[in-house]
């Protein structure tokens, strides 16, 4: 077997208020450029249009913030994690905080394939919706329509509860399906406008 000389670095970062309106593609562009500015030996894909090999665990929609977003970055050759963190911190815009940098095995399966659940906090809630939450959790099927397709939202909701004046939820996020917090809000009869949706963490297959 050929020994791979590269390095795979897994970082945890937050996406804050300042950049909440960036789309997933905007975030990818932002990271590509920040990492290039950080002067790292980025590994590139082969082929006609080589791209740096970076992957974000789960896209975060426009308007959402995230507490612990996870991304893998592949390098051509290993660098010290301290140097990595130092260089990257200098090149990321306000709104991104680098929280953790660690090295993982090159051979691990792709980051996206390992996500199982995502947890969100939605706030503020103006009305008491305890009753509606219970109803929703008790339902066997929650038929919703999205992009012209009908689907059942219920199996995508793992858990749902009030936390003070916020709504906490854990939703499925895997190859079978991705639960969307705005869909849950709609099923609860709540307006999306005026609410902050914050992804507090991603849960991976152990």
């Amino acid at each position: 077997m050929r020994v791979k000389s590269g390095q795979r670095i897994r970082i945890t970062f937050s996406k804050g208020e300042e950049i909440r309106y960036l789309s997933h593609l905007d975030m990818m562009r932002l990271w590509r450029r920040a990492l290039r500015r950080a002067n790292l030996p980025l590994a590139y894909s082969r082929g006609f249009n080589p791209q740096p090999k970076i992957s974000i665990a789960a896209p975060l929609p426009v308007g959402f913030t995230g507490e612990e977003e996870v991304m893998d970055i592949f390098l051509e050759h290993p660098v010290s994690l301290d140097a990595f963190a130092r260089n990257v911190k200098r090149q990321i815009p306000p709104g991104i905080t680098l929280k953790e940098v660690r090295e993982v095995y090159m051979a691990l399966p792709s980051l996206q394939s390992q996500v199982r659940f995502a947890e969100y906090i939605v706030s503020p809630l103006e009305e008491n919706i305890q009753g509606r939450i219970e109803e929703l959790l008790a339902a066997e099927v929650i038929l919703r329509q999205r992009g012209g397709k009908r689907y059942d939202l219920r199996p995508l909701i793992e858990d749902l509860r009030l936390e003070g004046s916020s709504l906490w939820m854990r939703l499925k996020h895997d190859a079978q399906g991705v639960g969307r917090p705005d869909e849950v809000l709609a099923a609860l009869g709540l307006e999306r406008a005026g609410k902050a949706i914050h992804r507090t963490r991603l849960i991976f297959a152990s």
Partner: protein, 636 residues
């Protein structure tokens, strides 16, 4: 002077700071909200209260377009380098954002510190396209700033404009307090200085003072006598005001900005740009840029290489574009490209060359790109027949075209885009019929060399007579003939990706290009009827304009669809760009005789006027900073 009647303008208060909470509410209703949030990498956020002069750079088009404008970035960099000047940006909000701002009664604001437009000292619009004019009105109105210069007082910002459209400022004369004629690098700081000396006294006094500055045009100090059915030339109202406004230029290109803003949203030109040359000496007779950016000034290779390195480090871009009117005409282009590729290609950087001439894109240059990642190549034969290419002074032969493009395919390029124009002066059906033949020969060659991946696409624009060009007196072709020619090309070039310009939008562009001061009322009325983003096919509605023309008793064809009398005064005669009217007239004559005029660079001076107009010109030319013949042979 234009008088406004019955406009339903929502006035939204002067200098307000925008609250984040209210902004969030608005942004959640619009597409791509990141267009309106700023905070991009390298954007400069200064302390509002400590800045002595606050300048807002405004671009009257969507964020993605405005962020691709190198000129605006140059001025942003220049102004922000001054300790006590703050320069911020604003672009035209898309129609959904305009609606959201109006509903919330929130003024348009700057991207950097989110201050309403009314709080700035100077708002400078960059005008590069006539079809953006209504967006200027939208932006002022969204800030509650009176649209007409005469309605504004000391409490309002100074509203100024520059850019290529300022070379015929008349259609917008009622809206702007003053125009900067020429290269802003030279004039802006002088203007800021004058503004400070004035210290917010009587507004009219400042305007009179500003009018003394070379290159500044204050339209309210000029009046227009239209005479008998003429377009009219503005003349000074008093003897203190200069009758002719001469363009300002820089003798040597200032160092290029390197810490440029990197947008989050994908810009139209999403790449690093370095201006390697300004001006062009080729003398294509339809081309305004070829006149108004003279003389030709090159940036030395070492400076390009150094700046490219800094620029890529500061931005993280993966593509570097060498910007100029005709990049391969840089005398050291091969050395430059070789240096850039050696230095940056190993770091996955692509080097791209926009707008190429087929006779200067050499095989040697093409070979440098062999085996490298490439973007597409664009060539502009402009006309299909040799005869017509000679009329427009596009001195290339079919042999040039074919051998160059063969070289490009041979070096591995696969996507070739071709620019043509229809409606050119003296154009016949045979000239148009020559286009498909040429395109098919090019495509056949691509197939032979590049195989099935070879692609040829076309853009067929319509000739629009532009001020300060030899063809400024020519007519825009009539709509029926243009449509017939477009239909012919569509039929003959079935299967080729083909884009062309909408005849109605072209007519409007032609009218505004050669317009006089009377058009202010039309622009205002069209805007009030709903004209927005006229440069965007999906939003352009000719009806708004044609109704406005009718109401104002003006005829678009009078402006666009007739040859102008060469003896008659023109609305831009008081603007001296350096190239003289006599030279343009001579070129007009030569065009009709089918005579070409060779490139003057390194050859004979044809006395276009540039060397006579600018002080220090001859010295600059002798030092080789300019592309002008060093020893002036200016006598006829």
């Amino acid at each position: 002077m234009l008088a406004l009647t019955g406009g339903a303008i929502i006035v939204t208060g002067g200098c307000v700071e925008i609250s984040e909470g209210r902004l969030d509410e608005i942004l959640s209703q619009v597409t791509k909200p990141a267009r309106y949030t700023g905070r991009e990498w390298n954007s400069v956020v200064k302390d509002w209260d400590r800045a002595r002069t606050k300048v807002l750079l405004a671009y009257p088009d969507l964020y993605e377009v405005g962020m691709s404008n190198l000129g605006l970035m140059i001025l942003y960099d220049l102004l922000n380098k001054e300790e006590d000047i703050l320069a911020e940006r604003v672009y035209t909000p898309w129609v959904d954002m305009e609606g959201a701002l109006r509903r919330a009664k929130m003024p348009l604001y700057s991207l950097e510190t989110k201050h309403a437009l009314g709080g700035f000292d100077i708002i400078g619009f960059s005008l590069s396209y006539e079809l953006n004019y209504t967006n200027v009105l939208t932006m002022l109105d969204l800030a509650g700033i009176p649209l007409l210069s005469c309605q504004r007082d000391e409490s309002h910002p100074l509203i100024i404009a520059g850019g290529s459209c300022a070379y015929n400022p008349e259609p917008l004369a009622d809206f702007f307090d003053l125009f900067v004629i020429g290269e802003g690098e030279e004039v802006l700081l002088e203007l800021v200085e004058a503004y400070r000396e004035w210290g917010k006294g009587e507004r009219a006094r400042f305007l009179r003072r500003a009018a003394q500055i070379e290159g500044i045009y204050v339209p309210s100090l000029y009046e227009v006598a239209y005479g008998d059915g003429g377009l009219g030339t503005p003349r000074p109202q008093t003897l203190e005001v200069k009758p002719i406004i001469t363009r300002r230029i820089v003798n040597r290109l200032p160092p290029p900005p390197v810490e440029v803003i990197v947008p989050y949203v994908e810009a139209v030109h999403d790449r690093a740009m370095i201006e390697i040359m300004r001006g062009c000496t080729r003398g294509c007779r339809f081309c305004q840029a070829g006149v108004i950016y003279r003389p030709l000034r090159e940036r030395p290779v070492e400076e390009v290489l150094f700046a490219a390195d800094e620029l890529l480090k500061a931005t993280g871009y993966e593509e570097l574009s060498l910007v100029s009117l005709s990049s391969c005409d840089h005398s050291q282009i091969e050395e430059m490209v070789r240096g850039l590729l050696t230095q940056h290609a190993p770091h996955q950087v692509t080097v791209s060359l926009p707008s190429l001439r087929v006779d200067s894109f050499s095989l040697e240059l093409a070979a440098l790109f062999q085996g490298r990642r490439k973007t597409g190549l664009t060539f502009a034969p402009e006309a299909g027949s040799q005869r017509l290419r000679e009329v427009i002074n596009k001195g290339v032969t079919e042999e040039d075209i074919l051998s160059t493009i063969e070289g490009a395919f041979g070096a591995g390029w696969q996507r070739i885009k071709l620019y043509f124009m229809i409606g050119l002066p003296t154009e016949t059906r045979e000239d148009v019929a020559a286009i498909p033949g040429l395109v098919k020969r090019i495509w056949g060659m691509g197939r032979k060399i590049g195989g099935r991946r070879a692609q040829v696409s076309l853009s067929v624009a319509t000739f629009v007579p532009k001020p300060h060009t030899p063809f400024q007196w020519m007519a825009l072709e009539d709509e029926a003939t243009l449509e017939e020619k477009q239909a012919f090309l569509r039929r003959e070039l079935k299967g080729f990706p083909l884009s062309w310009s909408d005849p109605q939008a072209t007519l409007l562009e032609a009218v505004l290009s050669r317009g006089n001061r009377r058009l202010g009322a039309v622009i205002y009325e069209a805007w009030r009827r709903g004209a927005r983003f006229d440069a965007w096919d999906e939003l352009f509605k000719g009806a708004h304009w044609w109704e406005a023309f009718q109401n104002q008793g003006l005829d678009p064809d009078f402006y666009a669809r007739r040859p102008l009398d060469r003896e008659a005064p023109l609305p831009w005669d008081h603007i001296d760009v350096g190239v003289k009217k006599g030279f343009l007239a001579q070129e007009y004559e030569r065009a009709l005789l089918g005579q070409t005029t060779p490139d003057c660079r390194g050859g004979v001076c044809f006395s276009c006027g540039v060397l006579e107009t600018f002080p220090g010109a001859r010295e600059a030319a002798r030092q080789g900073l300019w592309g002008c013949p060093g020893e002036g042979k200016e006598e006829d």
